[in-house]
Each structure stands twice: as structure tokens, then as C-alpha cells.
Amino acid sequence: MEPSFHQPRTLDAALKLLASHEDARPLAGGATLVAMMNAGLAEPPVLVSLRHIKELKAVKALPDGGLRLGAMILHRELASEKRLKGGFAVLREAAGQVAVPPVRNMGTLGGATAFADPAADYPPALAALGARIEAASTKGRRSIAADEFFLDWYAQALEPGEMIAAITLPAWPKNAVGVYEKLAKVTGDLAIVSIALVLAQDKGVVTHLGVAVGGCGPKPVTAPEAARAMIGKPIDDAAIARLGQALAEAADPVDDVRASADYRRLVLPRMLAKAFVRASLPAKERR
């Protein structure tokens, strides 16, 4: 079969095209997919460009304080999205550190999330926020929690014919603070280690906490029990160290050209501590 290229105007039309062939692929920004095609690593028989589907570009504040972000929102747009404040700021900071400006002008939230690169910036941010991925197909829609969405290296929970329509961020308390710490070899590279932290506190006592780590294994690393254990307790160095320890133990990093697994385990708790320090600063001093 000859490869074909489509530019549907509606989500329904896109979903039909995606259902037409088991290897049909959505094309979002193309920053990853076209790079793979250029390298001979992908040859999708049916390519469905999502660029004309207006509803995929929408940002919507939800009545409960949550936020629904369309899959085709650009990294650049997210990086300057005013509604990404408080706890959501972790996603804004992450978006501002994805790649370099020209790539941020192309790449999208949905594309980067679907690609599920564990060293990329959105997976840990979404995991820390407890985001839900809204999947759509001709069969209907379903919502998948971030920690069930990212499964393995470059693998996620989407079924054939299914695509990301939007991502919903659940409400966080008004006083929550989100910070994103990224260590990379050079500007715009994938993370060696990244820390996504969402923290709400009341007079030094943790009330809400979300934390996930990028670059340290096949998917965003979390330590739910250790995180839960901090709730209701004062933030102190020992508690942060315990959380760092738990995350380092949960991590499953590999040696690669960016760094060794040992180094990632070593630096993870150190960066976590820094993230806590920054999250506790008054807003103006945070950057």
C-alpha cells in the first residue's frame, strides 16, 4: 500500500482515519516523528495530521479548578500559558525547558506525551500533577491516569487507533507550588535527571505533595508511599532525604551516553532537595 497523508478538520474524521489502518499514526508537531522518518526508523502507512483540528488547541479551565489542555498545544504556548500557575507551574517550567525555541514552536503536548520518552520533560511533570490523559478513538473516549499511562521506554497505554485528545490536570490547592528541575548536558538536551515537584504546605507542614523523576528508568519514577508519608509532617532535611532515598530505590536507571545509572541515583536526591528549597521560596525568588 502507498503511504497516505491526511489533514482532517475534525477529531471524528481523524479518528476514522486512525482506525483505517493498524499502523496509522497521528502527526502532531513532527519534531520526533519526522526525525524518525528521516532516519528510516518509522514509515507510517497512514499519516494523520492533527494541525487543522481546532478543538485540540483549546485550554479550558474546569469548574473544580482543574485545567484541560488540548493535545495540539505547542511547547512554546505552554511555556507562556498564564493559567499554568500554582502547582500547574511545574508543567509550565517543564515546557520552557523542552528542547530549544524552534522545536518548541513545533512540538506539542500530545505528541511529546504519546512518545513517552522517560527522559523527556512532560512525563514526570504530568505524573507529579496526577494528570489524566484523555484518549479518543472511534470506540469512544477514556481517561487514563498518568501513572497508568506511561508503561515502559517509549511505550504507553494507547490502543491502536487511539490518540490523545487532551490532558486534564486535577485541581491543586491555591497555595500549591510546582517546580521543575532539569539537569542536561547542554541546553535543549534530554534530561540526565529531572525532578517534577508539586508541593502545598501550611506553615511548614506538607498538605499536598506530588513528585516524579525523569531520566531514571523506563517511565517516570514515583514513590507514592514515601510521598504520602510526608503529608501532615513538617518539611525537614531528613524527610526530604528519606523521600530522595525512596525515589532512588524506585528508580531503574541505565548507563547511557548522558550519564551512568550510579550517577543518576546519586544526583537524584540532591536535586530533589534543591527542588524543595526552590518550592519553598517566595514566588519572586523562585527563578
Binding site: L183, K185, V186, G188, D189, L190, V267, A273
Partner: protein
Amino acid sequence: MTVHTPIVGTSVPKRDAKEKVLGQARYIADMTRPGMLHGAILQSHVAHARILGYDVSEALKVPGVHAVLTGDDVGDFRMGAFVKDETAIAKEKILYLGEPVAAVAADDEETARYAARLIKVAVEELPGVFSPEEALAPGAPILHEKLESYFKVFPAVCGGNLLSQTEITEGDVAKAWAECDIIVEGEYETQPQYHLSMEPCGALSEIDVDGRITLWSANQSVFRVQANVCESLGLPMSRLRCLTPKVGAGFGNKMEPHIQPICVALTMKTGRPVKMILNRAEDMETVRARHPFKVKMKTGAKKDGTLVAREVEALLDGGAFGDDSPGVLGYSLLMARGPYRIPNARCFGRVAYTNKMRFGAFRGFGNPQVSLAGETQIDQIADKLGIDHFEIRLKNALKDGERWFGGQLLKSNGLIECIEKARAASESVKHLKSQAAKGKLRGRGIAVGGHISGLLATGAIVRLLEDGTAVLNTGAVDIGQGSDTVLTQLCAETLRLPLDKVALASPDTDGSPYNWGTTASRVTYTTGRAVVAASKDVERQIKDHAAAMLNTTPDQLELRDGGFVGIKGSNTQLPYLAVSARAHWGVGGPIVGTNTLVFDTPTIDPKHGAATGLPFGQIGVFSFCAMVCEVDIDETTGKVEPVRAWYAADVGKAINPRLVEVQMEGGFVQGMGFALTEELVWEGPRLVNPNLRDYKAPTMLDAPYDIHTQIVEHPEPDGPCGAKGVGEISLVPVPAAIANAIADAAGIHLTQLPFTPERVLNAMLAKKS
């Protein structure tokens, strides 16, 4: 009464800047020829094997394919800068993973690449060696069984997998250790660095009805291209003409051949123009990279800081072919004593063949690697003796009239002034460790170096045109650094012509005088000498004509701005037009000035030093540099961030100061990449990061903006207007300066490049505990 406005010493804009900003400059990938085919290579999947045969039938069946090339199509002809060990395409044996083993010419690139993948190569796999230690171990599998029979341009000490071995000595090291009050020792390791010219390598060749071939390519020397292609294909040089479009930079990678021999072979096979442009992965996997070094160094000094002895042992990975390896080895050993007076020194090294891509020339040519060891040891000695880092260098720095390691006399040496200038500039900005941002450690490091500019032959032809304007032809390839501009400035200055009245011929092996290449920081110095001499030859002829026309003698005449020749002290003058008209139409014939030369000052003076296995006898004149670098270290992660750099470089005379400064700035950032983030990583036989996603050079945000440069001018007596080179010296001290800055900030002495966050943090933590 005659006013002279100098052209030399002024920062005129580069000649090609305008076409480049407009996007109109043409590089090899931008060229097409009528009837042109596109070529593509098949790369080997094994690192070491005997080739048993090829099945090209499937590839030939693909519509649009015109020819397939394999090792069977080329004779047993071998090329190589020092040891002629390399065939145009793998023949009989495969020596590294990724090596081109076959090639296809087809109507378009996509077809060529598709068809290349259909070629089957039957091989008998052989065990490989992937480090010099493995390669030199007894019983190791041998890469070049016929090494002994290969032609070598120098008496190489070689055998088995040993490609070359060099030793240089002065004084008596063994005895000297006893005189030392303090001795420091260390082992250092440096990684392979990829040149990363933004333009990948490529070539385009065509053939005429008489079988004469024209070849354009991304290169640093049309003459080296000509020699290599002809040697590897068994062609007389008269059958191949080499030209160059604009070149998207070369840092050593485009000096010796890449795809040109294969491209020409495909043109010969098809009778059609063929273009081959390497993609980035192929460029990384098949061209060349900076040699990984292992260096053992020991340096001894007296209590007062006087350096007494140094001993060096280096082991280099050469990769599968000789390429420039013997040169890099020999040169690095010659540089390993540093720009210091160390009366007793012994520098010994070996380079071995391994089953990896060849390693070769890269800006610095082995000097940055040994300077890392040497310059960090100087700091360590100073620290142990409680001497200031600048002072110990000032105390031991070679001065004018002293000799480089091996005995060559230094006729121009601004090292001391460089150190003083870099010191003053850096000290004008207070070094406050407390200035570092929270969570960062700040430190400063100094490093100095010397580097040659020179080597081999060059020439220039200056023709005076009928109207009295001139055209200069040197055969030197401008790879972006601006030699076209600098050489034109020298010609215009000598002939007193405005810059726009001096045209420049593009390098052409048919019409240009021989030029060994744009390498070894040599064009300004060597080619500049030839340009000035050829221009003076024209001056002499102009004056001879004018003397006859004005009834005077040549010694009474002077050249004047705007292209006039006049009688000294008088208003009488002639435009060159009148002189050239006489020469063209009346007497004597058109005026052509020529000069050729070869650098001929011996490197080793047997009264001072001795060398064995050194592949060059006459290397060049010396430029010098001192730099101070300031870095911050992130205490959380160990990541090193250069904040500022202060440079001072002695370039003899800056013909175009701004072009000199850009060399320093660019050298810093490339050196910083070498020091901190860049590394080609092999896992066994496989290069695991042959792409720019995984090979990381500094971006604009990683490089410091604050690079402060100063030019020092100690004129080289025979340099053009006193000039010598700057291309490489700018990179040489960078890794060492960064190492010393890290030591200053965190008290750790790193010996292995690159200084990744991991290595830095581990060392900081080890020091704490």
C-alpha cells in the same frame, strides 16, 4: 606627500560575508551538474573481517540504479598522509564497523540509498581490537598484515598493530630527577572528539570525453584531494582537476580524504557526474575524529619553582588507518614539554591500529591533550611550593632567542607578554569566590601554550591585469576562517591597491600554485609569505617598466596608494594601467609575479635534542597564548559552567584583528565542548552516538558571552608583515584552563576528559569524605 592608508592591520569585512548572509553562498550540497547521478554507500556491519565476495544483483535490478562499486572495482592502490595503508573503498578486508564497503550511483539519492542496502557482502569475521592496549598485546589479531610493504613517507618505527613510535629527548632525565625538590606525576586520559563542521562532507565529480575528471568537494586542500584520489585509484595526477565550492568549515576533518575517491570511482564507472553527500551519521561514522590519548606525565622542579625535568609517555588510538596519526603523535610529543625551559625531557609515545574509525587531525593536533597534563602539573607544582600560578609560568616561560624542545630557535616569542596581559585583564575583574550564585562554586584557572604555524609547500601567483588591477591565485582553500580576505589584504597592501582592485582566484589544481592545505594554522603565515613575495615580484616588474618610462632607476621609485608608481619626492607618477599597457602591448609581456616556498627550518637541532620516529623534519614557527578561564560548578550536580575567559595570543601581526579574535572565541567554545560535553562513545566495536541528538556540543546558552581577547604582536622575522598563525593555539589551552579552574573552585584535580557532572561530583564527594 604620499599618504598611505594601511590595509594590513584593519578589520575589513570578510569577502564572502555578504553572499553568506544572503544565503547565496554555494556549498558542495548546493551544486548540481547536468545529467548528475547521486551516490550512496553501504557501511559494514562488522568491525574486522575478510571479504569473501559480493552479491550486487538485487541492487542492480532496482530501476534508476546505474552502477555498483565494490572493492573488486579498485586496484590495490593505497593512500595515506604518512603510511599508505588505505584503499578507496574496503578491499579484501573490513577494518572497522561502518566502513564503506560498497557504493551505488542512481538517479536520485533515495534510490541510491535503497539499492545500497540490497548489496550483500560475504565475510569471514575476524576477532577485533578496540583499544591500543589490546592492539599491542602479544597475539592480537593484526589489522594490516601487509604493513611492512606499505609505502611510508618517513622511516616509521612500526610493526604488527604498532603504527608509529616516536621519541624526543633533551638533557638527561634519568639523572635530573635527583636534582628535583619536588616531583608530580599523573595519568591523563582524553576522549575522541568529533569535529562537527556544520557542513557534512560531500563531493561531486564529472568526467569528460577524454576521461579527464573534475572533482568538487568539501575540503581543506584541493591538492591533498588530488593526491589522495589519484593514489587510491591509480590515476596520474594530470587526469584529475580538483576545485572547491564554499566550505562549511573544516577543523582537520576535511584535510585528508573522505568520500572523494569513491565518488570519482563511481563517475569513472558510470561516465556521469556523481554527487555524494554524507548524512550526519555517515559523517560521524566514516570520516575521522580527535585521537583519544592516554598520557603518563612526570614533572620535577626545584624549591624556587624552576622546572628541571619532564617525562612523558603517550599511547594513542589510531583507528583502522594511519591517516595523520604518526604526525599527531610526533607533534604532541614535541609540544609535551610545553612552552617552558625544562632542560631535561624525554617524551615517548606509540600509536596503534584498532578496529575503529580512523583518528586524525583536529585543531590542536595532539597539543590540547598533552597540554591538559602539562598545564595541570604546573599548577600542582606551584601549589605545593606556594608559588603563584602566573609567577611560576613567567619564571619558566621560554623567551625570545631560546629554543623549543628539540632545539629550534624561537625568533618571536610573546608568551611573557601574553601571560601578563591575560593576568592583567582577568585581575581587572575581581575574583570573588563569593560572587558565585548560591549553590555554585567559582574558580579561575590559567593555562598557556605554544603552537606552530607552518609546514610544507605553498605558492602564490599575482597577475597584473591590463587595467592595472590584480588577481591573486594561491590555491589556499578558505574554509570560513577568512584566508581569502587576509591574503587579499596582504597583496593589496604590498601593491598599494584598494581591496576591491584585487581579485582572488578560487583554488584549482589546474591553475593554482601548489598549496599543501588549510591546516596547521599555516595559511596566513606560509601562504601569506608567498603572497607578499609574489606581490613584491610584481612591484619589481612595475618599477622596472616605470623606470624605463620615466627615465629613472627602479630604486628611485615607490608604489603609491590607489595603484600608482611615482618618483620619490616628486609628483611624477604613473598609474599601473600605463605600466600594464606597456607590458601587455609593448615591451616585455604581461606582468606576473610568482613565489613558491617550502618551510625549511629544522625542528631538531642535534646540538640540543634528539628524535627518533618523528615524521616531520621542519615544522613551523611558534605562536603563543595564555588564557584565564572562570567557571562555576553546581554543587548539587557537579555541572561545570564556564563564566568568562580572558585570552591573549601572540600572532606576530594581526593582518585582520577581528578575524584573529573570532579564532580565539571559536577556539574557546570548541575547546570548552572538548573539555565538558563532547565525546564519541564506542561500546566495543560500535560507535553508539553517531548523531547530534546524543553528541552534544555547546549551544549559545552554554557558551559564555564574556570572552575577552587581546592580541599580542611579536613579529616573526620572515612572516608576512610579521604574522604567524592563530587557528589552533586558541583551542590548545582550553581544557587545561578549565581543569585548573575546577581545581581552584573545588580543590579537585581531574585527569580524565570530559569533565562531566558525574566526574566532577564524584571527585568533590570523594574529597569531602
